[in-house]
């Protein structure tokens, strides 16, 4: 049980600045998900906390204690790696207990802990197997077991689900969340998958091109994305973006159609309007959209099309829906997100 605090953490490789002054604090038992496309510095951040990299400057505090200079093993932090990094020549039990054996924990204690951890993860029958005799999901569990068995102050997850197939990913995602809740261990989870980010995190940190862009609970990130990048990244299918010009309360689309916005945004002439596919309303007296692709997914239908001015638009409707050549759609002003067309920042309200 611990809190984590990062103060002005920087990391540069030569003249490449991967991280520029990260300040972050995690409450006890909190699960923070860092999400972003590759190259946003999220893995480096994790490795700095783990102690696998040394920061250029700044400090890492675990439970108020400065651990910046400590060896990874001395930090009392466990990490789950993307490719699991199981020791190929050791059995499941040996893999899980290796850290304890190094620390000279008595054999009886180790046996009891291995059994307890295996029980927690449903690995009881697999303890004698080698990693190569396990399925992807089982390997993932062993990797988790290796982290849990040490009763660390903190867990680090480095994209632990990205090597699994889709069905297993959903299952393991729920399992990780359940375990983390149950054990109440402060966790830092890094991913590029927005669904994982939404479902796992107590709070989300969205990073883009080396800088943090939003730090908030998942639903707030979803409801009020701070920038157009976040808006497009979080939520699936991705948000639609329509260029528009502002004229008082009215936003004029490229086609000339005007939408009355709830608020005025003085000082901003050109904006980007964002609307999630599920918020687009299909109505007979709406804007005409030329349909070019229909994807029936069973429980919902995705309709890809273009507005009169050529702006692509994706519409999501629940259930099956007969679709002709043209669909008439309405963009409810209350559901619109307004971003500055230049820097992509969200405009208030």
């Amino acid at each position: 049980m611990a809190t984590l605090q990062l103060d002005g953490l920087r990391k540069s490789f030569g003249s490449t600045h991967i991280l520029q002054g990260v300040d972050l604090s995690l409450a006890d038992g909190e699960m923070l998900v860092i999400v972003g496309a590759s190259g946003c510095g999220k893995s480096t951040l994790l490795r700095l906390v783990a102690g696998l990299e040394t920061p250029t400057s700044g400090s890492v505090l675990l439970d108020g204690r400065d651990i910046t200079k400590l060896d990874p093993a001395a930090r009392d932090i466990a990490m789950v790696f993307q490719n699991y990094a199981l020791y190929p020549h050791m059995s499941v039990a040996e893999n899980m207990s290796y850290g304890l054996r190094i620390r000279g924990v008595p054999k009886d204690t180790i046996r009891a802990k291995v059994e307890a951890t295996a029980g927690l993860l449903g690995l009881e029958k697999l303890l004698a197997r080698r990693p190569r005799e396990l399925s992807g999901g089982q390997r993932q569990r062993v990797a988790m077991g290796r982290a849990i068995i040490r009763d660390p102050k903190m867990f680090l997850f480095d994209e632990p689900l990205s090597n699994l197939d889709a069905a297993l990913r959903v299952q393991m995602r729920a399992e990780i969340r359940r375990l983390q809740r149950r054990l109440g261990v402060t966790s830092l989870y890094v991913t590029h998958d927005q669904v994982e980010a939404m479902t796992l995190g107590d709070r989300l940190l969205v990073r883009h091109q080396g800088v943090p862009v939003q730090f908030a609970p998942p639903m707030e990130v979803f409801a009020r994305p701070a920038t157009a990048y976040v808006a497009g990244f979080i939520g699936a299918p991705a948000m639609n973006f329509l260029p528009a010009t502002l004229d008082g309360h009215n936003a004029r689309l490229a086609s000339g159609h005007a939408i009355a916005l709830p608020n005025a945004h003085p000082g901003h002439a050109s904006v980007t309007l964002g609307i999630r596919p599920e918020n687009v309303v299909v109505t007979p007296n709406g804007l005409p959209m030329t349909v070019d692709l229909v994807e029936p997914l069973g429980s919902e239908t995705l309709v890809h099309g273009r507005l009169a001015d050529g702006t692509p638009l994706l519409v999501k409707q629940s259930g099956a829906m007969p679709v002709g050549e043209v669909l008439y759609v309405d963009l409810p002003p209350a559901e619109l997100h307004v971003f500055d067309a230049g820097n992509g920042q969200r405009l208030a309200a």
């Binding site: 783990a50 696998l52 020791y87 190929p88």
Partner: protein, 273 residues
């Protein structure tokens, strides 16, 4: 038809390799005079088998008994193989897993020695060993042959494909450099080590030039030197005895290859780490 041709070529290859061996085996049991005249029969004379017992206990005229030379050769090959593996594993470990100043310089210095054939540096090496007073010692026979750029580079290749995460996981588990080497790296590379051991053992066993220079004491004669001495000294070469010794000289490397075959093949072919 194609199959027949393929098999024909393989069989021809096998014969090409096997025939000389068979001739030695058959020749060792025959009358030395007949061999000298060129009347070597391909059918072994079973009555001549006692030559093996003969050479094992007494050796060639003026030479050490063959069992002793076999022992020296075995000791030398084993020491060289083990020594080479220890040194090259350690140096490959250093250049692969550690960041230290002049790491790449160290790597290139090792690499460059590959370009020099051993014969080029044999005189300076002799001078160094003589300076240490190691002429005519077992150490002098083996130590200079231990450092191996080839083995170092091979192990570096093996270590490079080991995922970084494996080392990082071990670090998080609390394993220091020595523990990681012992608990993770060596077991994971066991197949490669076994394969290289076989190659290096045979390499050590076949050494000729260096033992000839550094060990003039007959007590340190290796089996290879012994065979040469048997041919050179006598006016009337006892070919059956020479051939018998050659057969005996063949056995230990063959035994090593057969014993290690399983790991040897696995080490050369296995991809996944």
């Amino acid at each position: 038809m194609n199959r027949a041709l393929t098999h024909g070529i393989i069989i021809l290859g096998v014969l090409l390799f096997a025939l000389p061996l068979w001739m030695i085996l058959a020749g060792s049991t025959q009358d030395p005079g007949a061999i000298a005249r060129g009347d070597l029969s391909l059918i072994p004379h079973w009555s001549g088998l006692h030559v093996y017992i003969d050479v094992l206990s007494s050796g060639g005229a003026g030479a050490q008994p063959v069992w002793r030379m076999l022992l020296v050769s075995f000791g030398m090959a084993l020491t060289i193989a083990v020594g080479k593996i220890v040194i090259s594993v350690l140096s490959a470990y250093a250049v692969t897993f550690f960041r230290f100043p002049f790491r790449m310089v160290a790597f290139w210095v090792i690499f460059i020695t590959l370009m020099l054939p051993p014969e080029v540096r044999i005189i300076p090496t002799y001078d160094v060993i003589a300076g240490f007073g190691m002429i005519n010692t077992f150490g002098g026979l083996t130590v200079p042959l231990m450092a191996s750029a080839t083995a170092t580079l091979l192990f570096r290749q093996v270590f490079l494909v080991i995922p970084d995460e494996l080392m990082e996981a071990a670090r998080m588990d609390g394993a220091g450099p020595w523990r990681f080497l012992r608990d993770i790296l060596l077991p994971v590379s066991a197949g490669n080590i076994a394969a290289l051991f076989v190659i290096l053992f045979v390499f050590g066993w076949n050494q000729y030039l260096w033992p000839l220079l550094v060990a003039t004491d007959p007590k340190l004669d290796t089996i290879v030197i012994g065979i040469v001495k048997m041919i050179g000294v006598e006016t009337q070469v006892e070919w059956n005895r020479v051939m018998a010794v050659a057969v005996l000289a063949l056995l230990p490397p063959v035994a090593v290859v057969l014993l290690m075959q399983r790991w040897f093949v696995a080490g050369l072919t296995e991809g996944e780490k």
